[in-house]
Subunit: 359 residues, 2 copies
Amino acid sequence: MADTQIRFGILGCAEIARKVSRAISLAPNAALYAIGSRSLEKATKFAASNGFPESAKIYGSYDAVLDDPNVDAVYVPLPTSLHIKWAVLAAEKKKHILLEKPVALNVGEFDKILEACESNGVQLMDSTMWMHNPRTAKMREFLSDPDKFGELRSMHVVFTFAADPDFLENDIRVKPDLDALGALGDAGWYCIRAILWANNFHLPKTVTAFPGSIFNKAGVIISCGAALQWEDGKTATFHCSFLANLTMSVTASGTKGSLHLDDFVIPFQEKEGSYSTSTEAGFTELVTGWVPLPSQHTVMTDHPQEACMVTEFSRLVKSVKSGGSVAEKKWPTLSRLTQLVLDAVKISVEKGGESVSVS
Amino acid sequence: MADTQIRFGILGCAEIARKVSRAISLAPNAALYAIGSRSLEKATKFAASNGFPESAKIYGSYDAVLDDPNVDAVYVPLPTSLHIKWAVLAAEKKKHILLEKPVALNVGEFDKILEACESNGVQLMDSTMWMHNPRTAKMREFLSDPDKFGELRSMHVVFTFAADPDFLENDIRVKPDLDALGALGDAGWYCIRAILWANNFHLPKTVTAFPGSIFNKAGVIISCGAALQWEDGKTATFHCSFLANLTMSVTASGTKGSLHLDDFVIPFQEKEGSYSTSTEAGFTELVTGWVPLPSQHTVMTDHPQEACMVTEFSRLVKSVKSGGSVAEKKWPTLSRLTQLVLDAVKISVEKGGESVSVS
């Protein structure tokens, strides 16, 4: 491992940690350094099957990872209810933190994590991978173009997947003591983030859950949706669910243009991402076809989006570590805004669709 | 004109009548026979520039068209507020009726039209062209496939277009005395129809308008949306507006499959229509891509969808005319269900987003 590489420790052997381990291996400025699990055996197996170097430290606890002075940064894929404990501890041990989403059970908890990171000068970033795909930057360019897209008027986002019976029974995302936010915290997080992203992270005035949210027996949301409303008349909706075939679509309409894609969270293919746009679309003379036709765009990426994320995170960590700068506030700010809207949607869901102010 | 062709009279010179005139010319079993306008001059010009034969009857009133015993069927593109008067009169004169959407200002009015059609034995069909595109039948096949799509769980439809200042000031669709249903009656009609179509025309239990409907100074809806909710937990949303770039997207998610298209009302190109589907979509082992990838489908059509519509309508008319059958009830039933939901959405919009039962 080069000295310029950020040394990662991973807390726990979650399934998603396999993908992020590979991303750390792929990122030129990051290295797999340690893994900790409550079971040393699990940690050993995980390291062996996920590309950890022979020299990697294998620990039988999360604490041991945090106590290792050579660990620069930790990746925290633990259940949401454990984020506050372990992220705060990590910050206190001066570890930079790549934190799985949802970042906390609510914004109050997240603020405690934020405070710990700020007072310890560590970088915090949530693991919303698609934000780091080069496609996302190209789409942002389109949405920011006053001639091609104009002003956003409405946005509609769907993220569903068909969880199998085992998931619906046993996954942490259906357990009230683990990931109590259920489908809203999982798939809904991405929808809300996409809507905020397209709105330059201006908060909506209100959120209003749709009727018909579905809960499991333990009271965890497994399907819901909401309408978001801005002061200026802009509107957005999202729907998230564990109960329908994999769907990841974004449709954004501006005064002058439209954007669409069907794989916003995980691109259909790892190294390329497509989307379609149209600008000032109208019809042929007799309204029998469109003029102009929408355009298809494909953006290639050398590294998958999760490796881009790790690279960006590690760049920021490196900069803090070398004393060149303080921790970048942009990323934790975006996490907090996303959590804020998510909290409001949850309240609206619980109140059966009452409109809830976002503040 | 062959004896086997249904002779059409057109009431008024609306812009949309140009497209339907061409469709009548293209349909093998239909013929342009008469045009009536309150201005003989306008009617003459319309006939000359829209492919009417030299022998066509040009009338200076709608009544004259209805009084012509050779007219088999009328196409009624008049403003919605005039539908009840002219459709009822047409039925009383035993003219079969192809009626522009929305079919009426409310279902009460439509029931009077229905009654007139039934008691006079004439065929009624609304002019929702996309229903007749061969693509629609192929998509219906997919949605009905228990293995490829399963049971519909959620559906999201958007139809917006950016009306220009002249439209927003002068078009009949922004005038309370002409098309009082505004964007809901125009773009919203298609969204509601698509949602009902995908649901095999089972009515939702409730509709709930989103906050933030936009009205013009005269109180006509120019942007709104709603969530629709079924007894079994199925959910749908739509958004319609005159204030954003042309967008026509449908995203339907079932327990096993998904359907998407971006041009459901007017296909991008006249003679072909595409859509994408996916079935039991999942991810690669490390969740870095989709398996399987969605499939693209293209359906060719010899005739544009509006000509398919005229052909189907004329076939039904021919069948009634020849005494072979009574008027087909399917199409007016679909019109009525669409209007019923539209009425409920309008009430919910007016009540600021209160949930409204559909019955």
